[in-house]
């Protein structure tokens, strides 16, 4: 049959469903996390450059522009964590006999619990 009608997908398909927008928000965290990692490497580089260089760099990072940039990076990385932990029970279900570990519990066991632990250890390790 040659009369079939093909309806090509529009470029802006991600505007068509709220779920698509949430998906794009999740995917875009990739750009922000990568950007932050570059800044982190610069920070580590300045640390290797000696006390003065590091102190100067921290002075730069304390300016409002960098604070806003880090707030954006924090929001993006937290969104990555939240969406990742939401996906874990779907992608790695834990079967217990005929039952599955309920998704909220699995998200806590495999996501939020370790996250809280790691975050606490890191912040404590630096502040102590």
């Amino acid at each position: 049959m040659s009369g079939r009608l093909h309806r090509p997908q529009r470029w802006a398909w991600f505007l068509e469903r709220p779920g698509y927008l949430l998906f794009m928000a999740r995917e875009l965290t990739g750009f922000f996390v990568a950007g932050y990692l570059v800044v982190l490497l610069v920070t580590l580089g300045r640390l290797g450059g000696g006390e003065t260089a590091f102190a100067e760099w921290l002075q730069t990072l304390s300016t409002p522009g960098w604070t806003v940039a880090h707030a954006v990076a924090l929001a993006a990385s937290v969104w990555h964590s939240v969406t990742w932990f939401a996906a874990v029970p779907q992608a790695m279900p834990i079967q217990l006999g005929e039952k599955r570990l309920p998704a909220p519990l699995a998200a806590v066991v495999m996501g939020y619990g370790p996250w809280l632990t790691v975050t606490t250890i890191i912040v404590w390790g630096v502040l102590r």
Binding site: M1, R4, R7, W13, R17, F23, E27, Q90, G97, E98
Partner: protein, 253 residues
């Protein structure tokens, strides 16, 4: 309550022998709060316009043939109640991401090929050998795949999937979930054969876990979860074959 409440259905029309472009046609239908969109379409077909073409069969969410876009959402029209839209008009279109044959009917060809590609049946050499009795399965073994066996092939998940809309190699949610269902069946020995198909090209890797397939699935199959699990299985298989290139195919399941 006034007896003659009505509402409007705007229906996608396309007849390949006369139309070069699709168009929308508005129909007034009686409003009944017990009616679903499919009832209204059937009423139009019976009372107003016999040329309107659509697919349907069971009217109870089992056959999977009445899937259409209702106000942009992929829905089984037998489960989409008019009262959830009334009094606003309802726009009915054929499922997106499929070629349209006529009006609300889409072509199933590509979908059928993808279903077949994952070999959705139990594969084992002794399948005709009944001397050992039944192939027993414990409730826990059944639970490993049961959810993924509930698919009714309604294709709503393909209409919800943006990747299915632009990547032909991608096998799509229902087919991949079905392949995963057989890979998880304790009676099956065909996992290596299926993974050959799934590891190729964009067959499974096209999926970026948008997750809308699971959101629209009327049978709670969770194809998105099944695909991520299948990716993990496929990745393990990839590294196993990489480590042991020879004889890798012999070690199934």
């Amino acid at each position: 309550m006034p007896a003659e409440q009505t509402m409007t259905l705007e229906i996608f029309r396309y007849h390949p022998e006369t139309d070069s472009e699709p168009r929308f046609q508005a129909y007034e239908v009686p409003y009944d709060e017990d009616w679903v969109v499919l009832d209204a379409i059937n009423w139009i077909k019976d009372h107003v316009d016999g040329t309107l073409t659509h697919r349907w069969s069971c009217r109870m969410g089992v056959c999977g043939s009445c899937g259409m876009m209702v106000n942009g959402d992929p829905k089984l029209t037998c489960a989409a109640f008019l009262k959830d839209y009334y009094p606003r008009p309802v726009k009915v279109e054929p499922l997106v991401n499929f070629p349209v044959e006529r009006d609300l009917v889409v072509s199933l060809d590509g979908f059928m090929e993808k279903l077949e590609a994952v070999k959705p049946y139990i594969i084992r050499d002794d399948v005709n050998d009944t001397s050992g009795g039944e192939y027993l399965q414990s409730p826990a073994e059944l639970a490993r795949y049961k959810q993924y066996s509930m698919c009714i092939n309604c294709m709503l998940c393909y209409a919800a999937c943006p990747v299915a809309g632009h990547e032909d190699e991608f096998l799509g949610p229902a087919a991949l979930a079905l392949g995963h269902r057989y890979n998880r069946d304790s009676r099956d020995r065909g996992r290596a054969e299926r993974l050959d198909v799934m590891l190729a090209g964009e067959a499974i890797w096209g999926c970026t876990f948008v997750g809308e397939c699971t959101a629209v699935c009327p049978k709670h199959v969770d194809p998105a979860g099944a695909i991520q699990q299948a990716k993990a299985v496929a990745a393990q298989e990839y590294f196993r074959r990489f480590a042991m290139p020879r004889g890798a195919k012999d070690a199934g399941a």
